[in-house]
């Protein structure tokens, strides 16, 4: 990684006690990740992530929160105008902070793979899906065409594509949206990657297909021991699939906890506001809670807590100092001066 310390990025506050709360050896560990355009302000600012084998970490946030940019940073697929820095970037013991583009090419699609929201744009429309998936095997594992085809066929069966032999010869447009997403997942998992990054993989799909794809990802990570980063804006999907959850707002993680803790004991006012905005059966017809205002633009981040301008609990301190992530309950990290709310407000 190129040494980069533009003034704006270098200023990100030193957060005390940066540590991985659960396991000692995560498959992928990234600390203080910062991404910005050229010398401009950081859009992703000081994100820490640890992905563990066989576990699903959900990254939730609304548009503009920086979640997709975080995913692309982890894959090192940022456009050349973007600048990336991190204090730590370790994949399975290998420091990738200084890795060459050649080394990264050997890792992408092999040790780390990604599934995108819209498979139609991610797949090559003029190649059969079989040729696309076997190409991965030939490049990364040096398999011959016939052997690669056998492996691809087995993978198609594993992601439950019906009539897999015929589907290998199909072009992307001949498949339904759900089938295309299965092909994408098969392609991502074909080299048995340590890390799978799924960026809104079910957002474009119908609920019945979404449900099948979620179950598939859940089964595969158990069978293959893949560490999954699952990006979504849908809290109900998070409740279905996550082991751990990180809530992102305006380029920073504001709350991180296990799924049970996040849904049972939500602490950050932004997390609470998102929960309150969800339609619930027992509040049918009543007005939903909304969040006033808008996500701040990258160039106009508030000085203190980034949620303060929209937060009904905001006090003078919130507008001055950014609250670091603090461990309020065991393995439950919150970036709010008032957490837990009931203690600070009574």
């Amino acid at each position: 990684m190129k040494a980069m310390q533009p003034p704006e990025l270098a200023r990100s506050p030193a957060e005390p006690a940066r540590q991985n709360a659960t396991q000692s050896d995560p498959m992928l560990a990234v600390a203080n990740l910062r991404v910005g355009v050229g010398d401009g302000p950081a859009i992703v600012d000081g994100v820490d992530l640890a992905l563990n084998s066989g576990r699903i970490l959900c990254l939730v946030g609304e548009s503009g929160s920086g979640k997709s940019l975080t995913a692309l940073s982890l894959m090192r697929l940022l456009s050349p105008v973007m600048r990336l820095a991190a204090d730590r970037f370790v994949l399975d013991g290998e420091d990738l902070a200084q890795a060459s583009e050649k080394r990264l090419n050997a890792i992408r699609g092999n040790r780390m793979a990604m599934v995108f929201q819209e498979p139609m744009t991610a797949l090559n429309p003029v190649m059969t899906v079989g040729d696309q998936i076997t190409e991965t095997l030939r490049v990364h594992q040096g398999l011959r065409q016939e052997a690669a085809r056998e492996v691809a066929l087995a993978m198609f069966r594993q992601v439950q594509i019906p009539a897999p032999e015929a589907r290998l010869r199909a072009y992307p447009h001949q498949l339904s949206g759900g089938m295309r997403q299965r092909v994408m997942i098969a392609m991502a998992l074909i080299c048995k990657p340590a890390i799978l990054i799924a960026d809104e993989p079910t957002t474009a799909l119908d609920v019945t297909i979404q449900s099948q794809i979620l179950r598939l990802i859940d089964d595969l990570r158990a069978q293959l021991g893949t560490a999954v980063l699952f990006i979504t804006h849908n809290l109900a999907v998070v409740a279905e699939i996550a082991d751990e959850v990180a809530v992102m707002y305006a380029g920073r993680i504001v709350e991180r906890a296990s799924r049970t803790a996040l849904f049972g004991d939500p602490m950050h006012p932004y997390t609470l506001a998102l929960f309150a905005a969800m339609p619930r059966a027992d509040e049918r017809g009543r007005p939903l809670a909304t969040i006033e205002g808008q996500v701040p633009a990258p160039g106009a981040m508030p000085k203190g807590c980034r949620f303060a301008p929209r937060c009904p609990f905001a006090a003078a301190r919130c507008r001055e100092d950014y609250p670091p992530l603090r461990e309020i309950a065991p393995a439950h990290w919150v970036s709010c001066w008032h957490a837990p709310l009931e203690e600070h407000l009574s």
């Binding site: 119908d206 449900s211 409740a239 939500p266 506001a273 969800m278 059966a281 007005p287 009904p312 905001a314």
Partner: protein
Amino acid sequence: MSNPLLSVEQVSKTYVSGGGLFGQAKSARVVSDINFSLNRGDVFALVGESGSGKTTIGRMLLRLIEPDAGRIHFDGIDVRALDAGALRRLRRRVQIIFQDPFGSLDPRVRIGAAIAEPILLHRLRPRAQVADRVAELLTLVGLDGRHAARYPHEFSGGQRQRIAIARALAVEPELIVCDEPVSALDLSIQAQVVNLLGELRARLGVSYVFISHDMAVVRHLATHIGVLYAGRLVETGPSETVFTDPRHPYTRMLLAATPSPVPDVVRQREAIAGEPPSPFSTWSQCRFASRCAHRMELCMAGEPVLAQAAPAPRLSACLRAADLPTFAAVDDGEERMTAAYRTRLGLLRHARAAADAEACASPRQAAASDVSALSPH
């Protein structure tokens, strides 16, 4: 059920594709034999997967797509018989809002002019009063009346959807067809638009045909539901009864597949398998049979029609509607939440109310409100 505002009877639409010089024409029956009606003030939600025909039906109601067969009556008017002039007058009373607030506004037209256009076209106000009316409409949908001179790109997605709603309201319609109006919006913005639609219904008495695949939003807004599968209504009825006691296996599958925001919620785990069939298929059996866990031999013998299923207004196109097992409805109510969750949601509501009250009392000092001024009790 005296004089429904909208009644749809036996409406169908078929598209023919191919059939050039060499090919054989294939016909795709995208919508078959649709029947439903809507009373003034009702919200009729059309739900179903992509390709089920929701959008086609919505557009046929305004004749943006011409139906091939069937009858559509709006307030007693035979919609299919109207000439161009009469159709324009109908579209003053029936409006449509689309999913994509980026695609439905002309980027080169100031939003004030976009909202004024239908007012001028239908001569609803003297020219001199149009600007005032535009400002009034913008205020009605929660935007600043002074923003009429701005262009669409100066607004966020949620604001653009409000502009689209303001433009639909400009002609004081009695019915608005909402085609996935909140699907493209973030959760917090979605809540604002859902609230706005509910408020407009309460204040102006507008009715909606609400097209959506989001079951949580549908449950929140709809009074009645029609579930579409492969171009056919398979179940209709009052909203809450459909959610708590679905009488068609497809409705059950849709509900079981909808993720719940309460983790580990006990839910009916109907088998969720398969994909919707191709519209080119022809049918001599129940269209859902291949995916159905309750299938029996009789289901393959002929296509069941929408018929009365158990309590009065409920209709289902399932032969087994009456003997389906009891359905465990998704319960994401407040009593399912942990004490900590409830407490903090309460604090949030309280703080929000206090902040709102303060903003009303002294708008200038609202920004300086201190948390110490807020006490939960």
